[in-house]
Symmetry: C2
Subunit: 405 residues, 2 copies
Amino acid sequence: MGLIVQKYGGTSVADLDRIRHVANRVAKTFDKGNNVVVVLSAMAGITDGLLDMAGRITASAEKRELDVLLATGEQTTAALLAITLKSMNYSAKSLMGYQAEVLTNRDFGNARIVDIGAGRIKKLVKKNNIVIVAGFQGCDSDGNITTLGRGGSDTSAVAIATAIKADVCEIYTDVDGIYTADPNICKKARKLDKISYDEMLEMSSLGAKVLQIRSVEFAKKYNVPVHVRSSFSEKEGTMVVNENVEMEHLVVSGITCNKNEARITLKKVPDQPGIAAKIFSPLAGSGILVDMIIQNTRASGLTDLTFTVAKTDYNRALEISKKVAEEIKAEEVLSAENIAKISVTGVGMKSHSGVAAKMFSTLANENINIRLISTSEIRISCVIKEKYSELAVRVLHSAFGLDKE
Amino acid sequence: MGLIVQKYGGTSVADLDRIRHVANRVAKTFDKGNNVVVVLSAMAGITDGLLDMAGRITASAEKRELDVLLATGEQTTAALLAITLKSMNYSAKSLMGYQAEVLTNRDFGNARIVDIGAGRIKKLVKKNNIVIVAGFQGCDSDGNITTLGRGGSDTSAVAIATAIKADVCEIYTDVDGIYTADPNICKKARKLDKISYDEMLEMSSLGAKVLQIRSVEFAKKYNVPVHVRSSFSEKEGTMVVNENVEMEHLVVSGITCNKNEARITLKKVPDQPGIAAKIFSPLAGSGILVDMIIQNTRASGLTDLTFTVAKTDYNRALEISKKVAEEIKAEEVLSAENIAKISVTGVGMKSHSGVAAKMFSTLANENINIRLISTSEIRISCVIKEKYSELAVRVLHSAFGLDKE
């Protein structure tokens, strides 16, 4: 008995059969005496199809109008699920983003939720309705339709769970939880029963695509328990919760691998104040996000500067870097796309020393060269050659005792 | 130089090429110094596709949710046209029904517009935006999405034209105006330059599918000039205007044919007070609309009662009639589906006598038997055997001097 938010992703609502399956699942939860608010994505492939359609008109579609177009995807699934539940004699009502009062800023295509006036949802829930909210969409203060960016339905769900003080926010997806590593790469990967918000944040930002990172930020900020689970099984998934809750006693809870970055190195740069700004200002000015930065000082007042950018920004970043290199008289620009960033993440690192040393020695034992290193309080990342990435994930998974028995 | 509402139907926005064509047409009107508000239907076939999808879930989809589903059709075309116009460097903004403040009653699936708060449209127009409104949809006072029924975009357009005091409401369609008869039946049919609201009302209700009848009611009530024209040519179409405006001097302006009715006759009914109520009350109770009614009194206190209903209601109506016939001891029930209603319409009838006589004699000359007759101030309708319908249209078209030279 409780108030449960259930979010179903695109593969879970991909066709009428699956929508019926979702309806059964929702009905079952409701029949157990719970109140249920459902948040839906568009059918798998629909959002891409709409983007493609806009792309055939122009390469740079107006963002406000693109959001109007994209919002139809979730509107469709919300209506179809409501029709299905009504046909099963459940009292169901769909709400679009603006009707659910999901208020965002005006950053079309990537809007952030600023407030949810949950009055209408609460009222409908109180009357024992199953409320179905179109995910991914909201509206700005002028009533324009906005969308929340890729994976935005996760954030819709967590934000709504926060606003209505739900007991739990269940995220239904096509995997059955958060794994210690990608099971496609590491056969010994195992599902975690629990993970902290902070670990999930790090892992989301490292490319684990189970949850949109903003949804985790939201959950952490408002302490909403998030349950990541499969819509295709009844098994418990992974609870994403506050660190205070008793965690499994793991120093490291996951190994992730990100192949979406490329590396650029400016060699023999004069080691003077202001040089870094000369390099990174034009990149920032072009909207290019730089991830890792390493500076190796050489003798003779020269230094090597290495950084990574997203592969999608690689060509533009390289062009800008070459121009800057000429201006500041760097010797040459080296670059590589065939890199991978391997990360180990775990709140246990805060209290356990030696994690970095173990990571480096484990990779060294396999003769894997480390090109860049970066760390946070609960994460260590190493850039290596892409071809070693699967091997690296597997040996680190073993070394940190994550292999399932 | 003026304020023009342009409505484009489903075939005019059936794909991206046609939407580009519409964008060019809108841009051209704008470039001439006009302000333009565009009202769009869904792409041809989309609404039926969505209805079909809902039909695969249940035969009786919840109407509120069906409207949410259907509204995506116009949302899509509105966004696509806005994206196209923006890509051509025109300032365009799409508005959904609720954003355009198209307020309706709560009759989901067939809602009536009760008010249009045109503030936002006017504000955007004032800033020289081309405003694109999703047709067919509105919202009730609680913000629920509603739709206006088949052809509802016509009504959206005329209602918006009324609210913003547009100079003209142009209805773009796949025919180039209102014809004196269906050109597929009568090769000599010709396009009318002008037609009165009342004539258009009669012709819409008789099955001429160019304009939704409610849109004509709206136009008449608020005296909005409506220009029905083709989106595939530059030719002037037909102006639907107040009768006061100088009309062509035609006694009859159009011949229409409706094959969507069926006839039911109860023979030898006791001619007593209350008998008609006994027959028509159960029909009305079942939501069956009766169109024409004729009562032929026989000698000996008996009467024959004949009426027509829509073919879609025919089977139910027949069943009810047979039950009633037994109760009131009518002799027998006859019925026929192969009938057609031929009508001549024209405001000129008000001042010209002899129209009915001419109609009857013209049909008699061809040995076409008339089964039922009904009239209004500006219309005479005769029910004949369906097989004579094309012939009847052609001979009446000639007899009333409508054939083009």
